[in-house]
Each structure stands twice: as C-alpha cells, then as structure tokens.
Subunit: 122 residues, 2 copies
C-alpha cells in the first residue's frame, strides 16, 4: 500500500534543488557530510540539515565509523515516488483504453446501422 | 537530454499536496476547473492557479470548448521525474556493481595467494 506521508516527504525533500544536487552527488558514490559541503559552497551545518531531511524520508542512509559519518543514496527510497507516478499513469491509460473502447463500440454500432439502412433501401 | 528546469518545475509542482490531489483526481478522468473546485473545498481561482502551475510543467493539459475548459493529466509529463529518478538509481547500482567487482577481485587475489603459500609449504 502507498504510504502517502512518505510520498509527501519525498516530493518535499526533492523539490529543494540543493537536496537534489546532494542526491546526485551521492549517487556517484558514498561521501561524508564534510566532503559534500566543500563543492557545494555550503556550511557543514547546512549540509547536515539537508542530509537529515533526505535520511528522514528514506532517500539517503548514513553510517558512522569512528568520527566519520558516511552517507549513501538508498535506491529503494525512491519507491514511494515511482509508485505514485506509476499509479497516476496507469489510471490515465485505463481511462484512455475505456474511451477507445467506447469510440470503437459507437463506430461499430453506426456502421451496423448504415448497413441495415442500405439493405432496407435496396 | 534531461531538462533540469523541467525536473525542478515538476518536483516543485508536486511537492504541494493540493496539486498532487488534483493530479490524482484528474488521473481518474478529464474535468473542468469548476467541477474540481467543489470536492476540494477550494475557490475556483485557487484551483485555476494550481492547474496553471501543473500545466506550465507539462503534467496537465487543457482544452477550451465553448465556455468550458477541460483539463486532463498528461502521462508523458511525468518523464522528467522518472528520468531523473532512474538516472540516480542506475548510478547507484553501477557503483554497487563496481564495488562488488573490486571485492570479488580482492577475494580472488587473496585466495590465489593462500594457494601459492600452501604449495610453497608443502
């Protein structure tokens, strides 16, 4: 079952460009928060805060070894987003299929009507 | 090529729960803005504003027939999101594959070393 609060958290987290950039950088390989801060021209505190948001919604995980906390992207963390999107696409496609069937039926009915009328005239 | 501004627009648009709810409703079938407003307890102006955001990023399209504008979900509009997510997942998986290969190689080297040392001792 789709967890709507997870969907909400993921969309909110990734709507912020810096957090998306952090996910992009982390998808190239695990990194410590301090190594992430430098290229982004952000303070360590700001990076840690962004990482906490990403970790809270399951998109990033972290592990502490000694004094270094290493972060990595969790591919499974995208599942709430992909499920929500796939759900919408599937429903739209079902609607389009139903519409195509109705049009097809109408087409068949009017074609039968025309044939019957032609036969009557002959 | 991935259009980053489109990715940004889509994530921002869907980070707002009301806009997600409108997409959910519209994925069940096309609707006019006024028909959407009632169940959401929103003013028509608010719904129109949300729909304009969704339309600007390609998630919704609309068509005016007479005085009624009908809106529908565009399944292809999700492509910037799904491409961005798939790109991140693919990179993480490539990293994991590379890591597995390195560990495998190390395993093979140390196993060969052990065999050589055993043979020397015999």
């Amino acid at each position: 079952m789709l967890n709507y609060s997870r969907v909400d958290d993921c969309f909110r987290a990734l709507a912020e460009p810096t957090r998306r950039a952090l996910v992009e950088r982390l998808s190239e390989g695990p990194s410590s928060a301090s190594a992430l801060a430098a290229p982004f021209n952000l303070t360590l505190a700001a990076v840690v805060q962004h990482l906490q948001v990403l970790e809270a919604c399951g998109l990033v995980s972290s592990e502490k070894t000694g004094r270094v906390r290493t972060c990595r992207v969790e591919p499974a963390g995208f599942a709430p987003l992909t499920s929500w999107i796939a759900g919408r696409q599937a429903r739209v496609e079902r609607q389009l299929d139903m519409l195509a069937k109705v049009l097809d039926d109408e087409d068949r009915i009017s074609s039968t009507k025309r044939t019957t009328e032609r036969k009557k005239k002959q």
